[in-house]
Symmetry: C2
Subunit: 242 residues, 2 copies
């Protein structure tokens, strides 16, 4: 029965998706708490390092949907579920099915360390394996299995790798080579998630994006790829809830 | 026989596609000369107002492909054809088929005023009808026919409307309402295509993009839409050939 409770740390929107395969999409966000990773540069570390603990509420799918409607009214038809790692939540199909029944599309991002059957229900699924600069280690067997399952069912999904340096870029090229047929996105990393001056941050982010664009342009390994910034950080800096 | 000649005004890249449905895609650009429109704010007016006349060369598909390879080497597998309006060129299938035979994907942008059978061969087709601020008038019968043909063949295409003001935004909402099932992109217009100071231009473009994002966020007509800037103008200003 549909009465599981999920650890939700933020619900906000509507805003635009600032990155990845549906960049620019008008969407609401549901952010779940808890992660099996602890990336060194995580821009949402409050979801797993204890600092956001007081904000976590255990909500049912119906309660999440009611809150979305409360703050979004009739201005949205798309919801993005992010984390933390929402793939930790085995019963998340309850939320996805409820949103679908209301005509709402659902996007989700996860690092590709855990499979859930409800991945097949997601309208736009982003797998974002983490490069060496994160300090994490990729479980290639698990990622292989996830990609094979999704590709076999012809699902709408993509791979996205955040890049901070040349070592990350080589990792990105390896991921792209391994899963050549999967739409592939490179994202310039935000290496200053604590900068509060949005103008200074913007200059830095544009410089990092330009570096990534120029490097990819020159590459013969990375040809059929997309290179994107994080638009939300360009617009609103490191603010939460935008 | 594949020996038509096409009026080409620019070939450049690789760079990234700065806007629309494949924003961020690493791509080469082929820009054709000639347009059936004369938009007031056209950022490529040199393709039709005579100022770029000396740059126009009449090239065959083979010659275009050779030039792409000359400047792009082995660093690309995607080509974007833009204009002007490339839909003026009835035999453009010769170029599309040649590129496909080499494993290269082809994106194309046109305003949706003219149908060509080769639209069905394009991998990512953007229809960009022009809003009131352009000074142009939309031929709705023609646009209807194009959308019906593409949707009927389940092609990968989208609508994109550039928005400069509230009147344009209402036009965008009307287009979206008319073709509700077609992926819909709103793009913040660059109202200063002659500004040569890239830093000044960047501030202005971000401000215009924020305005569009905030306006769309508040709308209950525009829900399942994507709102994007022109990334190339943010990175490189109003320079040609980037």
């Amino acid at each position: 029965m549909a009465n599981s409770r999920f650890p939700v740390i933020e619900i906000f929107g509507p805003t635009i998706q600032g990155e990845g395969m549906v960049i620019g999409q008008k969407t609401m966000f549901v952010r779940t708490a808890g992660c099996d990773y602890q990336c060194s540069w995580c821009d949402s570390a409050f979801t797993w390092n204890g600092t956001g603990k007081a904000d976590i509420r255990m909500l049912t799918a119906e309660e999440i949907e009611a809150q979305l409607r409360d703050i979004g009214g009739d201005t949205y038809s798309h919801v993005t579920i992010s984390g933390g790692n929402p793939a930790l939540l085995r019963q998340l199909n309850e939320l996805i099915e409820l949103l679908h029944s209301l005509g709402i599309s659902v996007a989700l991002e996860t690092q590709g360390s855990i499979w859930q059957d409800w991945f097949l229900q997601i309208d736009e699924l982003t797998l974002s394996p983490k490069p060496p600069s994160s300090g994490m280690t990729t479980d290639w067997d698990q990622l292989d299995l996830i990609v094979v399952n999704l590709a076999g069912q012809k699902r709408n999904f993509s791979l996205k790798v955040v890049v901070f340096d040349e070592t990350d870029l080589q990792y990105a090229a390896d991921v792209h080579e391994r899963y050549k047929q999967v739409p592939f996105f490179l994202q310039a990393g935000n290496d200053d998630v604590h900068e509060q001056d949005s103008a200074l941050l913007l200059n830095r982010l544009i410089e990092r994006y330009k570096w990534l664009v120029d490097t990819v342009i020159a590459s013969s390994e990375l040809t059929n790829v997309r290179v994107l910034p994080q638009l939300h950080a360009w617009l609103w800096g490191n603010k939460r809830g935008k």
